[in-house]
Subunit: 338 residues, 2 copies
Amino acid sequence: MTSIPPLPDTASGSELAPFDFLRPELDRVESRIHAQAREFDPAVEPYIAYILNTSGKRIRPALAFLAGGATGAIADDHHKLAVILELIHVATLVHDDIIDEAEIRRQAPTANAKWGNALSVLLGDCLFSHALMLSSEFEDSLIGRKIAISANEVCSGEIIQTQRRFDLQLTREDYFEIIRKKTAALFASAMELGARLNGRSEAVCESLRDFGLHLGTAYQIYDDCIDLIGEEKEYGKTLRTDLNKGKLTLPILNLLAGANERQREKLNRLLIQKEPIDIAALSSIADYVGAIEASLDTGQALVEKARACLEILDESEHKAALAGITSFLSVLLDGCRQ
Amino acid sequence: MTSIPPLPDTASGSELAPFDFLRPELDRVESRIHAQAREFDPAVEPYIAYILNTSGKRIRPALAFLAGGATGAIADDHHKLAVILELIHVATLVHDDIIDEAEIRRQAPTANAKWGNALSVLLGDCLFSHALMLSSEFEDSLIGRKIAISANEVCSGEIIQTQRRFDLQLTREDYFEIIRKKTAALFASAMELGARLNGRSEAVCESLRDFGLHLGTAYQIYDDCIDLIGEEKEYGKTLRTDLNKGKLTLPILNLLAGANERQREKLNRLLIQKEPIDIAALSSIADYVGAIEASLDTGQALVEKARACLEILDESEHKAALAGITSFLSVLLDGCRQ
């Protein structure tokens, strides 16, 4: 496998070629995110500050800005939207890490590893409720409403995923529904609301929403492939958690879908009856029969669909940067081909 | 100790003398709460339905109705407010039960006892985000904003409480801040927003808010005393959890405040160095030196303050019922005197 970088880390300032010109905006959202930490109770602030420093790649804020810039101008409300979406995302990461018993995220100990599950449950709640409090402050109440709806979708996606762990009846349609909710919904909101804050037409808002849905889905597929085949050192987070936690991702679902009865029995044994699961063996089989490649193809097709959604926009450096993100993800997906 | 009933169980229809005439409203909110369960993903619905059936005493909905009735009329928005506040409350109960490792609530297994912590974290999130999604639908966006602020206060209160477990430096002021946030904030919102939905003056809204704050604080003091001295069988929930989880409640804080150096050392040993904590011994000492009685006195004083806040209202059966609730809590507090 060639060396695959993670998606651009917009917080650290590296690997940001496609949206370098957004640096001032992203720096500003970064300070606003940190300023938010100070709005929590003084007793809670240091915990929140740590979490905000060590979680979240600021992809959603970047999308909110690019959607704003590509549909008019980046206003103060776009910064607010950016902060809110990132807080919601980070809140779900905190709860995810509890559920997955993950100990490392972005090279740093997770909240649960540092302070235990009890406090981490509440820290996630606090981030989440703070975000929804901020989202109730938009002058146009539709913005707050749409944020609340997508936050709710994220929670539903997570719950269906958890509830269907180790469920070999899970279909690819179920998988796509789960990742649409848990990941793509916030990408879609960043895009749609970025345009809506500029008062753009329903057609533009919808098209950018679709961009976010396709991009978010493709990104989750990439992330799921990395969990199966990536190197921990390279990604700075605990990998190989999906299968051990019973999360059936697209490569595995492809593998199951293509198996004959005898193979399916073998897979069932590997997935359900063995502890720990022999992930190296599964990954090799998935690679051999093309189940990983098929997932990457699906990801690429979604990236193409996302790119097509940009056609409705006039040319601008922001539109070009959105296209740049699709190209970047495309390269990442290709880098996973072994 | 005389037999003390729990606060009126507005869901089951028993022990409801002070607001029997609210029965149709409470029945309606009960059906709306259950209807909400059906608005979750079909995969999630049975879990949510179970939780809504086994959690929450519907005190906050009752307050929202009474505040509505006492300041004008009970409109559809009051039902919505009632449902939202109860969903937020139930969401926090689900997460509390994880943190406290509680196994029984209202005579039924808790979500974490039934389905484990992972799913329960997400079920709490789902209830919470659903409530905030509903709260973004009010025509007057100030209502949604105030709900989001109080939800955030509940989370902050919970977090400070968790973070300061086993912290013998906790003052009574700290304790009051914690319970104001974690319990009284939602009582206060039920009252204030019940009036605000009827377009009443700031003076009325503020006065009812204060009623909720005082009543909620007194109720939490009652609940904390019960945890120390009540009988599990009678209350249908796991008791004696506070001290074992390091929560220092008012009777214990009173005990610590009144101790001389020698006694404080003994208490420190009992509270920190012993495992499990000898709660029977602590409870007997607290009773003997009057620390429980002093807590009940504080509760009674708050009940009086709450009652005084009702003076701004014209006479009505709803106002009388609000006064009735204060009397009822007063009786409960007195019943704790040994």
